[in-house]
């Protein structure tokens, strides 16, 4: 091993991990430890594996993932805060041959955009929705979200979320599972190797559903925002397991095989 050069190690036969060709080499703006980057990687891999790079249009939100378009090599559109499902509707309806997905945070999807997501799902828009629930507004500096847990401190609930003042954590995924327009509704996480693998399967299924024109597929990823939570990445993972999963229970909420009726004709 003594005089081994790096070139001796980087050989195809030694390769145990390779990143997707659709992942763009660029400076990463996400905080180390953030869940966003892992989910981006999964989406890039899935688009490549399904061979749909030329047909996929991503819709990025307002939130930390606003720059999702810097990382995956497909066509993108950046939507106003909360409006990604409406933007995706406009793309998908006028381009039924395209695979359209939105990527939204919990402030974006559960607060300001609660209306748009419910109606897009209720109409059964043929889109994938990736919902990154980190129980906080990451981008604006850690304010309370509708998904913030009771007692969880944030910059706008410094003593912890108070039910009397702010009501209860909002379970969008449970609400969305009740809507007949959705065919697949699931809650995942990406904090361990095993959950990353499971989450990838779920997101892949969501994309395959859209390829089969089955209606809306909705994947919540219970996520960490270690910066907003003011924790270490490892501490954030533990806190998520111990606190978030009790409120946001991982698993499939719905998996239908019903085809949505086609429009017109």
């Amino acid at each position: 091993m003594k005089n081994m050069d790096i070139k001796d190690i980087i050989k195809p036969e030694n390769l145990v991990y390779d990143k997707s060709e659709l992942q763009i080499d660029t400076i990463m703006h996400y905080c180390p430890g953030c869940s966003h980057g892992v989910v981006h990687k999964l989406i890039a891999e899935i688009i490549e594996e399904l061979g749909i790079q030329e047909d996929t249009i991503g819709v990025s939100p307002v939130g930390c993932a606003v720059f999702a378009y810097n990382y995956i090599d497909i066509d993108w559109q950046q939507a106003a805060h909360g409006r990604a499902p409406a933007v995706a509707t406009g793309i998908a309806r006028t381009n039924p041959d395209k695979i359209v997905f939105t990527y939204q945070g919990d402030g974006d999807l559960a607060s300001i955009g609660a209306g748009e997501i419910l109606h897009a799902c209720n109409r059964g828009e043929n889109i994938v929705v990736i919902f990154i629930n980190n129980a906080i507004y990451g981008m604006t500096g850690g304010q309370m979200a509708p998904t913030t847990l009771i007692g969880q401190p944030t910059s706008t609930s410094p003593l912890g979320r108070d039910v009397a003042l702010n009501g209860y954590p909002m379970k969008m995924t449970e609400i969305i599972a009740t809507l007949p327009g959705t065919c697949y509704v699931t809650r995942q996480s990406v904090h361990t190797a095993a959950t990353v693998r499971k989450c990838k399967k779920a997101i892949k299924k969501a994309f395959q559903n859209v390829m089969a024109k089955k209606g809306t597929s909705f994947v919540e990823v219970v996520s960490t925002c270690n910066s907003g939570w003011k924790m270490t990445p490892v501490g954030a993972n533990t806190w998520m397991e111990e606190n978030m999963f009790a409120e946001y229970v991982p698993g499939d909420l719905k998996d239908n095989d019903i085809q949505k009726p086609a429009i017109g004709n």
């Binding site: 790079q53 030329e54 047909d55 996929t56 249009i57 819709v59 990025s60 606003v66 378009y69 090599d73 497909i74 066509d75 993108w76 559109q77 950046q78 939507a79 106003a80 409006r83 409406a86 933007v87 995706a88 509707t89 406009g90 793309i91 998908a92 309806r93 006028t94 381009n95 395209k98 209306g115 748009e116 109606h119 429009i263 017109g264 004709n265």
Partner: protein, 361 residues
């Protein structure tokens, strides 16, 4: 000669959209323009031309659906009335910031607030000065007849695509509800995929093929220096629009001593007022801006040294009058510029306009 029909202004907007090869309409019901979507739903253009028609859950959703479709190079439109247009403000600003073409129709009603369902022109400022945030402009067309409601749908799309900028038809409840004879255009087929690629392939989200870089439709730029460059580019575009696209009609201005300036419904009232005034020996003419942005400042500047005054007649407390004043000021003239208007859904009568001419000058 195209097909002749007796139609409502709102119905004609729908018919003209189908006939000019529009790809998509997204809207939300509001009086006095609901007939636009009702007509489309009755016509079912998705079965004929393939045009998409969708009732959205709100005006916020409608404009964002337009934003999505427009990004893919589609000819997309929405229509609403005043309160609904206010809700669209953020979306319109995004569309302008991302430099996308689309058509927004505002069939105005009286405000502020929920106001009234009767016609008004009080959204002039909102249409031509902004409405949403940031330095942008809407190419704004003001039809004065049901025929122009028809013609301006195609014109608005043409201008929107020429400049990659949102265009607005600013009309009102009177023109929307009014029935007139209209000559309909022949059907222009919707553009094929190849034609869209030809026209918009350099920027639209048509899917990243291996031959090109990914396309990102966004109005975001975190680097202030680059954002300023973007703004400078927009301003260049607006200058070009101002230099190229001004449209107006001058009626009986040759011998006029007083000039009425009015658009849309109030310009029709002014035409009657001109007749009445001339019977009384007052030599009155009319400048009818067809494009409210770009505003026909040059003709006003040209007339300013020759006439005794301008009267801006509007169904508002006086908004366009500011642009008339600016044009006169730019011409280094001191010609008086006055306003006469009715508000809250009331139309001025021709006699009231003549009275205003007599008392204000």
């Amino acid at each position: 000669m195209g097909e002749l029909r007796l139609m409502k202004g709102n119905e004609v907007l729908a018919e003209a959209a189908i006939r000019c090869g529009c790809d998509a309409y997204f809207g939300y019901p509001i009086t006095p323009q609901s007939e636009v979507m009702e007509t489309l739903m009755e016509q079912r253009p998705w079965d004929t031309t393939g045009m998409v028609v969708l009732q959205a859950e709100s005006e916020v959703a409608s404009i964002n659906m337009v934003y999505g479709a427009a990004a893919a190079g589609k000819k997309a439109m929405t229509s609403s009335s005043s309160p609904g247009i206010s809700l669209m403000a953020e979306g319109i600003s995004y569309i302008a910031g991302a430099e996308l073409p689309c058509l927004i129709v505002n069939v105005q009603r009286g405000g502020p607030g929920l106001g009234t369902i009767q016609p008004s022109q009080a959204d002039y400022f909102q249409a031509v000065k902004g409405g949403g945030h940031g330095d942008y402009r809407l190419i704004t067309l003001a039809p004065a007849s049901v025929q122009e409601m028809h013609d301006f749908v195609k014109l608005a799309f043409d201008l929107a695509f020429k400049y990659r900028n949102p265009a607005m038809i600013l009309t009102d409840g009177a023109l929307g509800q009014m029935m007139e004879k209209v000559e309909l255009a022949d059907y222009t087929p919707r553009r094929t995929k190849e034609e869209i690629l030809d026209q918009c392939g350099s920027w639209a989200t048509t899917g990243k093929t291996s031959g090109r870089e990914k396309h990102v439709i966004t109005s975001l730029e975190m680097d202030s220096h680059k954002m300023e460059q973007n703004n400078l580019r927009f301003q260049e575009k607006f200058k070009e629009i101002e230099a190229t696209e001004v449209r107006y009609e001058a009626i009986r201005c040759e011998d006029a001593e007083l000039i009425l300036v009015a658009f849309g419904t109030s310009s029709r009232i002014c035409q009657k007022a001109i007749e009445l005034a001339r019977e009384k020996g007052i030599k009155v003419g009319l400048i009818r801006p067809i494009t409210l942005y770009p505003f026909p400042s040059a003709i006003i500047a040209e007339l300013a040294p020759k006439v005794k005054g301008f009267l801006s007649v509007e169904m508002s407390a006086g908004q366009m009058v500011e642009d008339v004043k600016l044009a006169v000021y730019e011409a280094r003239c001191t010609t008086p510029v006055k306003h006469f208007g009715r508000m809250g859904g009331i139309l001025p009568s021709p006699n009231e306009v003549v009275d205003a001419l007599e008392t204000k000058f």
